[in-house]
C-alpha cells in the first residue's frame, strides 16, 4: 500500500528557506504571495491492511522522518 508522508516546519519555527524563496517570488513580480513554506514529501510502500499501514507510517514519521521539536507531519494512505 502506498503512503504519502508530508513534513513541514511548525508555524512558530522560522523557515529561512521559505523566506528566501518568498523573496525570489516577489522579485518575479508576484507581490500578492504572502508566504512560502518548504517541506518534504516521502512516498512509502508498506505491506498490510489499511489500519496497520497507517499506524506504522505514523510511527515511522514520528521516530525518523519528522523531528517533533520543529516539525509537523501528515500521513495519507493513497
Amino acid at each position: 500500500m502506498k503512503v504519502k508522508i508530508e513534513v513541514f516546519l511548525r508555524g512558530d519555527v522560522f523557515d529561512p528557506q521559505g523566506k528566501a524563496i518568498l523573496n525570489a517570488v516577489h522579485h518575479l513580480g508576484y507581490e500578492k504571495t504572502t508566504s512560502v513554506q518548504v517541506g518534504k514529501v516521502f512516498l512509502l510502500d508498506i505491506e498490510g491492511d489499511r489500519s496497520t499501514v497507517e499506524k506504522q507510517a505514523k510511527e515511522i514519521a514520528d521516530k525518523l522522518l519528522a523531528n517533533p521539536v520543529i516539525e509537523n507531519f501528515t500521513v495519507t494512505v493513497l
Binding site: L9, F14, P16, Q17, L64, L65, N67, V69, I70
Partner: protein
Amino acid sequence: MKTVKFGVVVFPGTNCDRDTSWVIQSVCKSEVRYVWHTETDISDLDVVILAGGFSYGDYLRSGAIAHYSPVMKAVKEHADRGKLVLGICNGFQILVESHLLKGAFLHNKTQHFLCQKQYLKVATTDSPFTMKYARDEVIQIPIAHGEGNYYLPQADLDEALTYDLIAFQYCDKQGVVNEETNPNGSTASIAGILNRQKNVLGMMPHPERSSEVEMGSTDGKKIFEGILQWIQSV
C-alpha cells in the same frame, strides 16, 4: 596519574575524526581510539567524542540517521552512567537528534554554509568541559556548518538559564552577544549547551581546529584539558 581513554566515534561521512584524535593523542598526550559506528561495547572508554563531518551525507536532517546507528545505544548508556560525552558540530547535531540534548537544528538564518573564525563567550565554567576558562571570557574557535541554527523551545531555554546549561554563546571580539553577532540565528546565540547533569556537551565550533599555535588559536585546547583534569580529580 590516572590514564584517561578517549573514543572518537566514526560514522560513514564523519571527517573530523583524525583531527580530533590528533589533538587528544599528540597535543594532550592522552590515549584515544576510533569507535566504528557498528560497535556496541565502549565500556573501556572514559570519554566519548562524536566528531564533526557529514554523517550519512546529512540526509533527511543532520544527525537523524546516525541516531539509529548501533553505537548510539552504547553512547546513551555511557552518558547515563555519568561519563563524559562531547559532540562537536555534526556530533552536536547527532546528540540533539538522539535526545541526549534538547532542541533541534535548522538551516543557518543566512542560508549559507558558514566557515569562519568565530568569537565565543564562555557562559558557564561550571562543567568539566569549561572549567579551565574564566566566566565571560571571550575565546576564538572556528565554525563550519550549514545547519547550525540551534532551536530551543522557550520552556527548554528557561531550564537552560535556570540551571546554567549554556556553555558558549556567539559574540564579537568585545564579547557582545546579540542578533548582529549571532552568525546562524541560534536561540539565545547558543553555540554550545550542556545536559542537565552537565556530563554531555554539544557545541558547533571546532575546538580540535584551535588547539595548536599553528592553527591560529589554542583556545579550544582548554576543553580537552578540562576533561582530563576533571576525570583525574574524580
